[in-house]
């Protein structure tokens, strides 16, 4: 059993796709995905607030679903397809309509919650291109913001939704 224990506790090699780029890294099993992204891949756009799933700052998408990266172990992301806030702007550096919306509508102050807000809103707009203000509020209810009072954020998501609908036409 000791032999097995030593084996299972050792660094694990995982391969994951982040923002369309493949990475192979060694991780200790107890390392959270948020820490793999920030400390190993140096993608520090994903913020860490509470580390128990409440604040939403660490939200990313994993295989197309919004997920708390502080509530997934890095080893569990082996073979996963992940998008972080760094993956939002297009290849040529043009801001995502949501990023533009947060800029135009004052959707942020300190910006700590912003990456998680953007990733959550991005998933919302993919599935609901024309959300009501109520639906936007419900969708971002899992993301805490200490600064904005949410008004600007809701405006920003509405702005982006409109922009994306116009682009799609």
């Amino acid at each position: 059993m000791t032999e097995k224990t030593a084996e299972s506790n050792r660094l694990k090699t995982i391969t994951l796709k982040v923002n369309h780029k493949e990475y192979t890294v060694d991780v200790e099993p107890r390392m959270l995905l948020s820490d793999v992204l920030r400390d190993i891949l140096r993608l520090t756009g994903t913020h860490v607030g509470c580390e128990h799933g409440v604040c939403g700052a660490c939200t990313i998408t994993m295989d197309g679903r919004p997920v708390r990266s502080c509530l997934v172990f890095g080893v569990q992301a082996d073979q996963a397809d992940i998008v972080t806030v760094e993956g939002l702007e297009s290849e040529d550096g043009e801001l995502h309509p949501l990023q533009k919306g947060f800029w135009e509508k004052h959707g942020l102050q300190c910006g700590f919650c912003t990456p998680g807000m953007l990733m959550t809103a991005c998933h919302l707009l993919e599935h609901n291109p024309d959300p009501s203000r109520e639906e936007i509020r419900e969708a971002i209810s899992g993301n805490l913001c200490r600064c904005t009072g949410y008004q600007g954020i809701v405006d920003a998501v509405e702005y982006a939704a409109k922009e994306m609908r116009e682009r799609a036409e």
Binding site: M1, K4, T5, S8, N9, K12, E28, P29, R30, L32, D35, E51, H52, G53, G56, T59, M62, R65, P66, V67, R68, C70, L71, V72, F73, V75, Q76, T120, H123, R137, E138, A139, S141, G142
Partner: protein, 290 residues
């Protein structure tokens, strides 16, 4: 806040997972969605020496709707149930109640089996399982057994599931004819854990009188509380606001919630009465339409 070190195993079959549980006993914890276990590990309230990640075990995810029973694999994630059209028509309460679990980011990972085993008395799934009279199938090496909610939930965060057992599937009845379901909860913020939850099912006979009913409340005790004394009184009567008002009033004396910083005992009792009235009425209205 970082978790303490642990040994990580990722079995590829159910048998392999079960033999790891046999080998490590109380040292091992199953990792399913991680949405309750990982927060506790991050805060070091839990420091299991061994984690057995069952996310690679085949055959434990999926929804099967039969004539009378819905079988949901223990590893099925909340969002899958939430977005299942089949669940919405075969067990409306389940679809509605699952949506009340945390936020979409939590429902992406959290599993049906994990919620049941975590056994938080204010969690939606234990209350729905009790209200609807569902069942849970658990397996260990060479054995399988079925548990009713009454046999399953012991007290706060504690069930009768043994450390060598895995929840393989969770079973709910398909909604019967002339039946309506309803679940409602009071939370401080959308997505938060509920302060009080009430869930009800009402079946009408061909004349529109109440043939059977069930009512269950979460947040007043260590386990979901089924109020048969209330629903027994309803049988044979036509559903009406007065009927539900009268039959729910005594709930104040039937439940013994505790107070905390969020709400007093009196307030919680009021919530029990109000939410019970509301879910019974809503379920009866649905039954009329069915």
């Amino acid at each position: 806040m970082k978790p303490a070190a642990f040994d990580y195993y990722k079995p590829e079959t159910l048998d392999e997972a079960l033999s790891l549980l046999d080998e490590f006993g109380y040292d091992a914890k199953i990792l399913a969605g991680g949405q309750s276990l990982i927060p506790m590990m991050n805060m070091r309230l839990a420091r299991p020496p061994v984690l057995i990640d069952i996310n690679g075990v085949p055959g434990m995810t999926g929804i099967e709707v039969g004539d009378s029973e819905i079988v949901i694999g223990g590893l099925t994630r909340h969002y899958m149930v939430e977005h299942s059209a089949e669940i919405r028509s075969s067990c409306p309460m389940l679809a509605e109640g699952i949506k009340l679990i945390g936020h979409s980011q939590i429902r992406s990972r959290g599993t049906i089996g994990g919620s049941i085993v975590h056994a938080d008395p204010t969690a939606e799934l234990p209350v729905m399982l009790t209200a609807l009279g569902g069942k849970v199938t658990v397996v260990s090496s060479g054995e399988e057994r079925e548990l009713t909610p009454e046999e399953l939930f012991l007290t706060y965060m504690t069930t009768t599931i043994e450390p060598n057992e895995i929840v393989k599937s969770v079973h709910f009845p398909v909604i019967a004819e002339r039946t309506g379901h309803a679940i409602e909860e009071f939370t401080l913020r959308s997505g938060d854990f509920a302060i009080i939850i009430a869930a009800a099912s009402v079946t009408l006979d061909e004349e529109g009188l109440i043939e059977s009913a069930a009512l269950c409340i979460g947040g007043v005790d260590g386990v979901p509380v089924k109020l048969d004394d209330v629903t027994d009184e309803l049988i044979g009567h036509a559903p009406s606001d007065e009927l539900f008002e009268e039959s729910c009033a005594p709930i104040t004396d039937m439940v013994e919630p505790e107070k905390d910083i969020h709400a007093s005992v009196e307030y919680r009792k009021d919530l029990c009465v109000a939410l019970s009235r509301r879910v019974l009425k809503k379920a009866a209205d649905e039954a009329k339409l069915a």
